[in-house]
Symmetry: D3
Subunit: 283 residues, 6 copies
């Protein structure tokens, strides 16, 4: 199944807010004073460096909300790899509108393509293993849905989207409950029948406790590659295994080689650099 | 004058939206099922690596909006340098609320401290020169006001905040107007008396044209250090000089040594990694 | 673990909107013209019929947002059983504010207590069986979070909260996919590791197909009690079993006796009558 | 004059909010993973039981806001009677969108048709008398405008829409003012010239007091059929008479036979069961 | 009964929006750069000219939302007459906040006091007659509720608040219906029992038609004083009489002397000049 | 360069809010009860008095948001002079929608055309001098962007749009800083490189101090014509000169004759009377 797009009703509020943030109270002083109202132009959205594209629907909407006469013809779809210098899309129509929407469109496109590209590079690094690359809740405030979408565009998968769509028992919860087992029991008693439960374990003792209570998934936090391998062997398919803890593109392959099901990386959404994408006038 | 804080009325909508994004429809399933309602605790917000702190008011508000009984006692103020392992603030109060607000508070704090820290490192790199470090409009959609605040917290300065608070004539505007001079004349004719005008110039000919028309500032785009030095000499104080074009911490000192007034860096806001900040339970 | 309250940040927008809907542009014409500004009074929120209370936090907030000087002292908590005529809470303070907020407060309280009471009556009817009573997505637009909370207050459990927190494959999905098995395979391939998958089955053949693909839960739709019992025997603990299809308080016990894990009832949220609750002046 | 539709500008915020409530942060996981993006289908919105239809504009908008390529062809208009099994409308277009919007569209349609149907049944029960059936302010928070519309669709009339479009003096106001007459005098002194004044009376003494002060309407609360008849005789056309107090379809005809102008019933909006309406795939 | 205040829940969204409109993205650059953070001051809100005060609650809220440590002590209440130079209120607290909120507070206060003062001057001009001065729907978009409140503060009364709280049949409606009588009959058939009906009449024939159909009120549009007097005689108490049509303070007394019940004046809300109110530092 | 229009994304929220404010909860009771649903009509928007038109995009949007089948054909553009009785635009389409949107459309058009006309009359009064007419921050809360646009439509220019797009040091700031010079120095130290600084001076001593510190502009407050002339001579082109202080159309020419660059007038936006514009049915 290909990447399902985010529906317009979900992204329109974000794009409107971003445009209004840039327009302020007086609009685009520069463009309105210099560019003739009737001028029509043709531009190319170009990848200045190679990477995976994400966010074209948001860019398209930015242009359209500024002026419905601007057409954004998409050349590469979200999830596609852009080579350095490659044209991703073409915006044509009233020059004023294109210039006014440009920065907002590129901000979305650059941010999300940066996340997709970072994801793709780690996905590539672990190819051949069973490990999926997943993001976390360490996202930019207000952008969680689109950042998680960008991770999918890059070939990654999503962890839970918020505090309410799954149970993830962290170390502090374990401490308060007085152990992995009592924490899991309390969670199980309260959880709806479609709510999975994952628990963070810091050592193999806790892991066994978690398995004994039937955790759906275990978060193996900050373990060495050796310990991870042992953990995977102990789990032996009885739960989903997730490795976490400042994973980098460099450390990922070794971690993946342990056989874990998932590697979660906050860095994908909180610290990936943007993909450098620009707009070139073609006339 | 010290760093002026952002007023609550400006940041409250952001913090509310971020909390609701995380709470979803069912709230914090994990915490509500495991942590007793009456449990009170004491935690420390700790810098896991060294850097400059920014965003404490947003973090404080995140805790307060979840539960007004949570107090965030601030140890280091925004703009202060945190050493690795240093306590930035202490959150105490109902454990449920602290755990529920934790991720939102840390997301703001990590993102903004990351920007402040990146800014501070470049500011330090050009110390002794006249160059100020400024950010751009390449900000995360929805977060411009707070990201620009973070740049100030890091010792940097702000470029314009949007399309409407100054005129910045870019290369495409120049091309459409048929040159730097006609572009500046059109802008001057339309600009309000408190609106400054800056123009991007790509070479020394354009620079002279800009000075001839009395530009308030010139954006020296992607010039070599040698050309920048020549440009500064030509300007000779008649306009503010701004160097731009993929400046890195490494390239900044040489650019600053040319005598430019400003170095603008999109990377500060679009690609700085978060500062790693965590929450430790102290009991 | 007791019923976790909905946080104020989640319900405040609902209560504000409801009050403004009632106040319109001119406010409470009747009260403002008749009741002296300084008059203070004492009132009781009384159950006119017996039932389970839910929604006190919303009622309290309605009074408080109209006038912070109104105190709502809660006598019975959400989830408690009110006898006919019993006092649930006492509102005291400025009479104008109490009269202005009264209808909004009672509308929330009546609606949610109605849902809680309906839930409780069916929960009671299946006591002694393993069946949990769960609600559906057939909720009043805009009120899903609070209506699902009311179900919990009545002793029921919640099905998924929306289209995005679990996968529920309905008959139309099955038809489009060409069968239960291919539908489940497609869903499994796309689902995140914390996303459970349930599938609707209309007969025992489909049920076996679902079990063969490892469905987490099966929705046994509109089956007779006999077929349900067979289904439960076939499943034999390998999946969660949910019975659905116009269940009534009358039909629930027989369904529960088949051993199903869950009985889902849209009626709880879309058609339960309000609990009759009124406000009496005590002076 | 036929039923005037609610304008799109009034219902669009409700429909958007309802869709976003269901879509959450990740959208329709089930449909996006199972249904091919290009699949087009044809479906029928079918009344599973007989009743009066209301809410088609809201349902249509739900489909359209999810995907503008979905057409909802309306077969029966709001206010029409649907026989059991009758097709109300046909939705055709992209299958994904239809499945994603289905629940929201049906929730509006079911709720509002339930109210219209309940209203129609009581309207029918009092046919031949002068009594109009009216709803109250006991509506679902946030949905007052559309629920009152549904009452009109069912052949009923509307009481006031909020606290600000008419004066309705209740028993507590009377008590505070020290009697029906002083309450009416205070209200009259403050009321705008287009604001009507109604007063609740509990007995015939109060009724006479109200008539003496020229009340526009009298709310005859919880009176027996005999007393109502006496009251109507006393009023003798000098004011509008409204009977209220837990009226049921059974008790309505006798009440109507007393000659009252209006019978108000909170149950229409707060406790009517939904009309069971489903969506059938036709291909 | 004294002037009932607008509840905070109704005015808070207006005040927040006005403050954010002024603060923009960067806040108060001037004050933040010049005024020390800790400076506390004491100021007086002073009437620079004489008039009637209105809007103090909005001004108070503007200061409070910028900084809860600012106290606005009210000296004159809404509806009171301020002499030129008189102190209306005193704002004391952090100087930064007072300066930042000043313009927003004064904009509300000046606009609303201007409306109240204009109203009061016409009310005074017709004193001794039975005529009430009423405003229209010609209000500033977004401010209707508060502008109508200001009219009340000035001693005037309110016409309907919108299209939905009364029926006002204008000349175009009459033309479409084919006369005053058919228009009234259609309106009566559709109107709720608490909805009054007023009809615009341009001559005495139409007036008689309106009375014949039992109109609650008649709008005597653009009639000469002589015709108005005849109209009042014809009506003879059977309906409320309203004179309208570019009434000025000069023409009002003669119009009032005809015995009309109401004189409506759009000018009160759409064209009254602000009352000049300033803020003086007292230290 | 001609007047640049406000983009739809900036004005749509205003127009939606204004329409909903008028529609309330029940919509246009009068029109819906009297005007047949299918009736189509043709109307003219007519200037009842002469003036400069502004706000046609808002009026057009008001009609369109009520019914997309209404076409507003614009005869005169914003900024054009309408003679008394001249047709400004023609609205044609469904009569119900035209009548329902009429008041909102005219309220925007009347308010903004009033501001444009007032501006134009003063601009005309100072023709032949170098003085530009500018507005202030004394605008109607919520309408600043459109009111400033109306000033431009009338041939005026805009002062700053808010507290954040320029620095304007007022007398109270000067007092707190201890003089014009220290205030300017603090502001300069904090100001971004594209932020201009203006300072209010009350006498020629302060003026010289301001020039000595290199102020970009000086606000010459409440000075006599003689003093203004001296001030202009002293400035001698070193700063922009702005005269302010209760300027009226009468006093403006003499002030302009002093050679000041700008005359700022709060009255344009806070007290200009509306331009009387009406809607005539043409059929």
């Amino acid at each position: 199944m290909t990447l399902a797009p985010l529906r317009r009703i979900m992204i329109e509020p974000l794009v409107r807010a971003a445009l209004l943030e840039d327009l302020g109270r007086a609009g685009d002083l520069t463009t309105d004073s210099i560019v003739p109202a009737g001028l029509v132009t043709r531009t190319a959205v170009v990848a200045r460096e190679g990477g995976v594209v994400a966010g074209l629907d948001l860019a398209k909407l930015a242009f359209e909300l500024i002026d419905p006469d601007i057409a954004l013809d998409i050349v590469l779809n979200d999830g596609a790899i852009a080579a350095p210098g490659q044209v991703i899309a073409r915006a044509s129509g009233p020059a004023r509108g294109i210039l006014t929407a440009e920065r907002t469109a590129l901000n979305f496109l650059g941010n999300l393509s940066g996340i997709a590209s970072a994801t793709a590079s780690i996905v590539a690094a672990v190819r051949g293993t069973r490990a999926k690359i997943v993001c976390t809740r360490k996202t930019t405030p207000g952008l969680r849905a689109v950042e998680k979408y960008a991770v999918r565009a890059g070939g990654g998968a999503n962890h839970r989207f918020g505090l309410d769509d799954a149970i993830l028992i962290k170390d502090n919860h374990v401490a308060i409950a007085g152990g992995v087992a009592p924490a899991l029991r309390r969670a199980r008693a309260a959880a709806g029948h479609l709510v999975k439960i994952e628990v963070e374990v810091d050592n193999l003792e806790q892991l066994k406790e978690a398995l004994g209570e039937g955790a759906d998934a275990v978060l193996l936090d900050n373990m060495s590659v050796e310990t991870l391998a042992q953990a995977v062997a102990i789990v032996n398919g009885r739960a989903i295994t997730e490795a976490s803890g400042r994973v980098t593109p460099k450390s990922a392959p070794a971690i993946a080689s342990t056989g874990v099901d998932l590697i979660s990386i906050g860095w994908l959404t909180h610290s990936a650099a943007v993909l450098d994408i620009g707009l070139d006038f073609e006339t």
